[in-house]
């Protein structure tokens, strides 16, 4: 028995020439929550993947409960009681909750060796004369033979008992989940579950397999405030039971709230472990980034006063035929950042896609200058001279081609343009790689993208923050008048996030209108000039950033109207106006 549940010593892992982890040490005690902090690409997930058997370390040792172990596969990790909850859930969408757990359940082994040892102790062979020894050995042999037969019998009976799936598995899973204090419907299919339910299932799954070392990779990225609270109370309960918990997160306030100690990784190296009590946001950020960072978001006033985009009575249907956007009207002015807040799935996606021309409009208009762009093809919208850059929330799915390099991803958007690339497809049918590479280098330089090479490394190998920078860089390179961006900092670390905010502010100063769909209300209140709140596709109100609070926005997001919250002020205004 050791004080530490997990000890990593001198772990080194490289992918080709990239060093993901360099001589990392890490200790976790039993009954402790350790936060693992670091920027994107600092090797947190890689390190944890070595604990869960996805990767194997090149060098270094892993000790579980004081014993040196070799973790070659997730199966080994499972046997050692390590359960990892991955950022992208490892669940099978078509299966029920119970089946997702059931597929990893081992048959109870019939431990023959242990039984043999028991037989040996029952019939000792020491201090016996020759005849007695022989007799004793014969006795042993006969008992062991019997044991072998009963083992075979057990195997066969057990096979028929457990080989077939029956309805009792649902009740068993429900019971175990309930015993751990979770609320789980084991008959529900994963594809019908909300994100928080999926996460609960993942936790129940690893606990069901007997995990006492829990690794959670960015568990809060997709949860609402209430769900995060619930998760934390679960983690605290697990901690009391003596589990060792490692939690990877970007959100410093969460680190300070939940963890006992923090280990910070920077560029694959452990730069220090501190007791959370003694830490604050500033200190952690400095450790993470390696230099002083200004944690202030600016929102300066600009002098532009021109309406860029005028959306009137816009209604958009989703694929199921219901109104995802319902009679929405607003204006986007030049030189401002207009935030769009709302619980996820309240029509943000449809709003962005309808403006970008990707989603058909049922009724209403989107005026750009004097032209209605509603329902036009994306290419038409570009050809009309409207420079509008759409940065989708799904970076690699919709924004960039993951297996292509940075330079080729630049060509995707610019190959039609006259400047430098192909003026006319007929005249110049070949792709101009040279200019693309120059442009890629420019973006990499201006936005400080960290990549070894712009035309060798596929984009999906870059870390999230760098992918986002490449995408944003490509979009602003065409000098757009309007930028539409959805969750641009999702999954990004602090430094990358602030870098993105800076880029958006820079564009704003140039007179661009930015439509910013976000999730962090603190950030939105600091960054946006005005915030539009959506609830089930309807506009609950548009507030100015310096005249609202997080609580007000939260209320509006859940369906309370603007007028109700600002009743008094509206009255006052009416009085003063006469």
């Amino acid at each position: 028995m050791s004080e530490f549940a997990v000890q990593l010593k001198n772990i080194t892992k490289t992918f080709g020439s990239v060093v993901a982890n360099n001589k990392v040490d890490l200790n976790v005690r039993k009954g402790e929550i350790l936060a693992l902090l670091g920027e994107n690409g600092s090797g947190k997930t890689t390190l944890m993947n070595m604990l869960s058997g996805i990767y194997r370390p090149d060098k270094g040792q892993i000790f579980i409960d004081g014993t040196k172990v070799y973790i070659d596969s997730p199966e080994d990790a499972k046997k050692l009681g390590i359960g990892m909850i991955h950022q992208h859930f490892k669940l099978i969408e078509k299966f029920t909750a119970a089946d997702n757990i059931w597929l990893g359940i081992e048959d109870e082994p019939f431990d023959l060796k242990d039984k043999f040892r028991h037989v040996d102790s029952l019939y000792p062979c020491e201090n016996l004369d020759k005849a007695a020894l022989r007799k004793q050995k014969m006795r042993r042999l006969s008992v062991k033979t019997k044991l072998c037969f009963s083992a075979l019998n057990y195997k066969i009976v057990n096979y028929f008992r457990t080989a077939f799936l029956n309805g009792s598995r649902f009740d068993k899973v429900n019971k175990v989940a309930h015993d751990f204090g979770f609320d789980l419907d084991s008959r529900k299919k994963v594809c019908d579950m909300a994100v928080s339910e999926k996460q609960t299932l993942e936790i129940v799954k690893v606990l069901y397999y007997g995990a006492n070392i829990l690794v959670l990779d960015e568990p809060t990225a997709v949860l609402t405030v209430q769900e995060i609270e619930k998760l934390f109370s679960i983690l605290r309960k697990m901690k009391e039971k003596g589990c060792a918990i490692i939690i990877i997160t970007h959100k410093l306030n969460e680190v300070l709230e939940i963890s006992d100690r923090v280990t910070v990784l920077r560029k694959g190296e452990n730069v220090g472990t501190i007791v959370t009590k003694d830490a604050d946001e500033q200190l952690l950020t400095e450790l993470m980034v390696g230099e002083k960072v200004d944690l202030k978001i600016e929102c300066e006033k600009t002098d532009f006063d021109e309406t860029l985009l005028k959306v009137q009575n816009l209604t958009v249907q989703n694929s199921e035929g219901t109104n995802a956007i319902d009679d929405v009207s607003f204006e986007l002015r030049s030189g401002e950042i207009l935030g769009v807040a709302g619980i996820s799935g309240c029509g943000q996606k449809e709003l962005c896609e309808s403006i970008a021309g990707l989603c058909p409009v049922k009724s209403g208009s989107i005026m750009y200058g004097n032209e209605n762009i509603a329902g036009k093809h994306p290419l038409d919208i570009i050809n009309m001279g409207i420079s509008m850059s759409f940065i989708p929330e799904d970076r690699l799915g919709m924004g960039l081609a993951g297996s292509m390099n940075v330079a080729d991803n630049m060509i995707l958007k610019t190959y039609r343009n006259a400047k430098g690339f192909m003026p006319k497809s007929f005249l110049y049918p070949f792709v101009d790689r040279k200019n693309a590479k120059a442009l890629a280098n420019k973006v990499v330089e201006e936005l400080e993208v960290s990549t070894p090479d712009v035309d060798k490394i596929p984009v999906r190998r870059l870390s999230g923050g760098n992918v986002q920078k490449v995408l944003l860089g490509r979009e602003i390179e065409g000098n757009p008048r309007v930028i539409i961006t959805a969750y641009p900092v999702r999954g990004l670390d602090i430094n990358s996030s602030y870098c993105i905010y800076d880029i958006l502010n820079r564009e704003k100063r140039k007179g661009t209108g930015v439509l910013f769909v976000g999730e962090d209300l603190d950030v939105m209140l600091a960054l946006c000039d005005r915030i539009l709140v959506l609830c089930h596709g309807k506009v609950m109100g548009i507030v100015k950033h310096n005249q609202s609070t997080k609580e007000d926005l939260g209320l509006m997001m859940t369906g309370t109207g603007y007028d109700e919250i600002y009743k008094d002020e509206v009255k006052e205004e009416a009085v003063t106006n006469g």
Partner: protein, 329 residues
């Protein structure tokens, strides 16, 4: 000939020819459920059938023939599994390669043996084991009696295999694991399932069953080798379409086989049908070429419909055709 007799003959013909399709389909379902899209069915059936037939003739034993066909088919599967699972090669390319390879081996052996190609009549007990069984009273039921209860034992074997495969996939824990591998290998891996073992087992068993289908065809054709056409004659390709039609359910594939088989058998059985039911005389006016094309046209239509129609209970394995590599990011 009365209508009942004619219909009975028609149904008998549908089952007795097309049951080979069921072998191929069930084999392919086992492959695809573990996430391996094996396009080598045609070749595996041809070479498995050839192997099984030659072994059956030389040993004069049905059991040896079945075992031989399963092993020869399974060896093709082992090759496919080694290339796609261990070496991570593209499944489509390897599948097509196996088809080409299998057909080439089939012709190589058949033509190489020339006049020495064994005749079924020389192995009486092998031949007899294939003959239709008689179930007494059951076989005497009008219309369906002969069609359902007087078939070759291999027909019942195919149906048994389909039912066992269906129960295995749907109702057993091992089947749950197989489906997990086909749906999301990453999730299955993290749950501690040995992906490689599951894939190898399923591919080898599935291709072994395809081999049995080839053996069935060789016996149905009376073991006569023709230098120009294979025994399978495109059936392997239709099996792949039938998998989709049956929504990846082995038991549904039994009925799918009958529906597909109807179009295969219409040409050969049309005279019997017209004889009993004169109003069907239009059948003889349709050119023979159209009849031969019919199964493939139906296949194309089925594939179009099923790829357009995407209902919620679609059983298609999500990770089909994708190789799994744990450290892939």
């Amino acid at each position: 000939m009365d209508i009942a007799e004619a219909l009975g003959l028609f149904i008998f013909a549908i089952i007795s020819y097309n049951i080979a399709l069921l072998y191929g389909t069930v084999g392919e379902i086992l492959n695809e459920k573990a996430g391996s899209l094996n396009l080598g069915v045609e070749g595996i059936m041809a070479v498995g059938g050839m192997g099984g037939y030659l072994i059956g003739c030389s040993t004069d034993s049905m059991f040896a023939a079945l075992l031989g066909a399963f092993i020869v088919g399974g060896l093709c599967g082992l090759l496919f599994a080694f290339l796609t699972v261990t070496l991570q090669a593209n499944q489509n390319v390897i599948g097509l390669t196996i088809t080409t390879f299998g057909l080439a081996v089939y012709f190589f052996i058949g033509r190489g043996l020339g006049d020495k190609f064994p005749k079924l009549a020389d192995s009486p007990s092998f031949q007899n084991a294939f003959k239709a069984v008689d179930m007494g009273a059951l076989s005497d039921i009008p219309v369906i009696g002969k069609a359902l209860f007087s078939q070759s034992p291999l027909v019942y074997l195919a149906i048994a295999i389909a039912i066992v495969a269906g129960v295995f996939l749907k109702r057993t824990k091992a089947g749950l694991r197989v489906r997990a591998v086909g749906e999301n290998p990453g999730a299955a891996d993290s749950a501690g399932i040995n992906i490689t073992a599951v894939k190898y087992t399923n591919i080898i068993c599935g291709t072994g069953i395809m081999g049995l289908g080839g053996l069935y065809l060789s016996l149905y054709m009376g073991g006569s080798f023709e230098g120009s056409a294979t025994w399978t004659n495109g059936l392997g390709w239709i099996a792949i379409a039938l998998v989709i039609f049956a929504n990846w359910k082995p038991i549904a594939a039994i009925f799918g086989t009958l529906i597909f088989g109807l179009f295969f058998t219409l040409d050969t059985s049309k005279l019997v049908l017209i004889d009993a039911m004169p109003f069907l005389s239009f059948l003889s006016k349709i050119p023979t070429e159209l009849y031969s094309a019919l199964p493939f046209i139906i296949t194309a239509i089925v594939l179009i419909i099923s790829s357009v129609r995407k209902h919620k209970n679609n059983n298609e394995p999500s990770a089909i055709g994708l190789n799994y590599f744990r450290e892939e990011r």
